[in-house]
């Protein structure tokens, strides 16, 4: 499990210097919201469709415990085996056990955020089961050993040259380019994205051909039918689901939705918010393993339902709504902070506003302060969220919990308390203003302050501050009031 949330500032600073990240982020922040807009406007009534989606997420989370039980019952009735995992360790151990019992040497994986959260790949590899990601972006990030840059496109920022290098190093290009060379498709090792994509396909197709066990995530788990649904554009998840004898689907608690109708609406909402499509290229639904007479599908299906802190979040009513998140990434594309720093600084599987609300609850308030403070509370994420999450309010709640922990610097707390006492008294406030003026203005030159030490320093990195005027409004009011009273008298 990657976890570098403590390096937020350092990595943010590095990424802002990275021309490539900057160019990509600019493109993303300009293009993605438009794509989403076009996608949403294809609903006959976009506002209603959005409200309906939010209502489904609200209901799914409020009824989560009973829905999960219903899902378990129906999934098992259709032949799937449901395993509950309390935390990352239990989830990883369950997958490893299934693999070991079947003498599996390698698995392929569909894109799954929850397994990034639990660190499943590392666990399997350490224990002798090789893991091949099969989403092209994940293939690249896995090889580069990086976090996802964006939840939807984890390697969208990596240029073809870098991908070509890593493919050569890992032996992915050599074999397929040989084939392409023999067939006369290409003349030499390439940086052409289409050729690289084809090389990855050929490489993975070999893995799928002999696949014994596949691992996928889950986008929606339908309580009324016990069906797991995946949406994707590359077709690799369907390969993962249909090629092997053994399929392991891993989902976190909040993926459950009440009905198939709800799931289909959420698939339409998710697609539009992810990529602006009406529906992704592939949508696969599995209700249990292959049944007698069916021609394909896995012989056995395990569904691992991972808690990893969710039930605690569910019980914590003030933050429960973070479970509504459908991982569409719309908030990343609209966030003015994410679009400056990209996904790496958030230091964990989830980045952008989504990461800012989820990571502190998974990793703890104490170590994630930069995540819930690096926000101007502009509300763009809340506005766009198809799940109806109020991100700014959650960040404010985390800030309050941090300050409430009692281990804040004494000086800071005393300053806050002193300020609040002044705010509760007009006369103290006036005295404060009178004292502040000479202090503040001692830094001024030609009517402007260009620099100040200590806490205020950050302001002056790129900005000036006008010196404090000779009179506050309160002081000017006395004259205003007097002159208007005079005017009235004179009338």
């Amino acid at each position: 499990m990657h976890n570098r949330v403590d390096k937020f500032r350092e990595i943010a600073s590095r990424e802002m210097q990275n021309e490539l990240s900057r160019a990509f982020l600019l493109m993303l922040s300009l293009g993605a919201p438009i794509m989403r807009q076009i996608g949403m406007s294809s609903f006959p009534d976009p506002d209603c469709a959005e409200a309906y989606g939010r209502a489904i997420r609200a209901e799914a989370i409020e009824r989560m415990p009973e829905l999960l039980e219903e899902f378990e019952k129906n999934a098992e009735a259709s032949g799937a085996k449901v395993i509950w995992a309390k935390d990352a360790g239990e989830a990883n151990a369950a997958v490893l056990k299934i693999a070991k019992e079947r003498n599996i040497s390698y698995v392929t994986k569909g894109k799954s955020m929850v397994t990034e959260e639990t660190g499943l790949n590392e666990h399997l590899i350490e224990n002798g089961v090789d893991v091949f990601e099969s989403d092209l972006g994940e293939v690249i990030t896995q090889m580069l050993g990086r976090l996802p840059f964006h939840i939807v496109g984890p390697a969208l920022n990596v240029p073809p040259g870098e991908i070509s290098d890593i493919f050569l190093k890992k032996g992915i290009i050599k074999e397929p380019t040989d084939i392409f060379l023999k067939k006369g498709i290409i003349k030499e090792p390439t940086e052409n994205p289409v050729e690289l994509g084809r090389a990855a396909r050929v490489f993975l197709r070999e893995k799928f051909r002999r696949l014994e066990m596949g691992i996928v995530g889950v986008n929606m788990a339908v309580a009324e039918t016990g069906t797991i649904i995946n949406v994707e554009n590359e077709g690799n998840i369907r390969m993962n689901k249909s090629s092997p004898k053994t399929l392991v689907a891993i989902m976190s608690l909040e993926k459950v939705v009440p009905t198939m109708t709800d799931a289909l609406h959420m698939a339409r909402i998710l697609s539009r918010n992810c990529t602006g499509q009406k529906l992704t290229g592939y949508v696969s639904m599995d209700t249990g393993p292959k049944k007698p007479g069916e021609i394909d599908g896995p012989e056995e299906l395990f569904i691992i339902i991972v808690d990893n802190g969710r039930s605690e979040i569910y019980r914590d009513v003030k933050v429960r709504e973070i479970l509504r998140c459908i991982r569409c990434g719309a908030c990343l594309n609209t966030c003015p902070v994410y679009s400056k720093i990209g996904g790496y600084p958030y230091g964990f599987s989830y980045s952008g506003p989504m990461g800012q609300i989820i990571n502190p609850m998974l990793l703890g308030i104490g170590s994630t302060a930069d995540l819930y403070r690096a926000c101007t509370l502009c509300g763009a994420c809340k506005n766009i969220c198809p799940a109806g999450i109020d991100h700014p309010s959650l960040l404010l709640e985390y800030r309050a919990r941090q300050k409430g922990q009692g281990n804040m610097p004494v000086f800071e707390r005393m300053t806050a308390t002193a300020a609040s006492v002044a705010m509760a008294s007009g006369s103290l406030w006036s005295i404060g203003a009178k004292c502040a003026r000479p202090l503040l203005n001692s830094f001024a030159k030609d009517g402007y302050i260009k620099n100040m030490p200590l806490v205020a320093k950050g302001w002056f990195a790129c900005r000036d501050l006008r010196a404090m005027p000779r009179k506050t409004f309160r002081e000017m009011w006395k004259e205003l009031n007097k002159s208007s009273a005079d005017k009235k008298e004179s009338i």
Partner: protein, 246 residues
Amino acid sequence: MKVSLFIPCTVDLMMPEIGVAVYKLLSRLGAEPVYHANQTCCGQPLYNAGYREQAKRAAKHFIEVFGEDDIIVSPSGSCVSMVKHHYPELLCDETSWYNRAFELSGRIFEFSQFVVDILCVTDVGASFSGKVTYHESCHIYRALGISHHPKKLIAAVKGTQLVEMSNATACCGFGGEFSVGFPEISEAMVKDKAENFLNTGADVLVLNEPGCLLNINGYLHRNYPQKRAMHLASFLYENSVEVNHA
């Protein structure tokens, strides 16, 4: 109509001329502005920092000061949003305070909203020959849903051409403690805002949020000293016919 002015601390301490402009404009438009001299700050900086108990103290003072007023008007959407949305939330465990906060939340208005919706005025009698662009401040645009009010007021100024700025609704990077705590990210954001403003070719950037104004003007003064942003109230007042003829 008696109108109680809530002059935010940033205006009171750093930009009192905005308060004067609001006072003068409202008086001219037939309202009777009053000012309670014992008002202070809405407590938002404390609330945003996470100091809720301390913020409550400021909130209660505000409610004591303004509790009896029929209409409260403020030249800051952010402070209005604090009172309107966050006071009831902050005081939800103390029934009598909650009731007062909830009741107050319906009586507080952002300046441009008050002028357009309550006074039913769009032409305040100002003229300015030049190009103007408008920044949609986050808490005005998203938290209060106010956007056409200020634009109507600007468009009604004689001789003024209102041009749209690209990414007008994007945050300017202020965010209170954010601007001090994350200076690098904040700079990247305010730089975009300034460049979008410059690209419009407008003579002045008008907005109605004191926080954004401090931020954007601070950046412009450092980097493009010939350019400036103005509060809507100042823009309307300083360019009003009456002032220019005096």
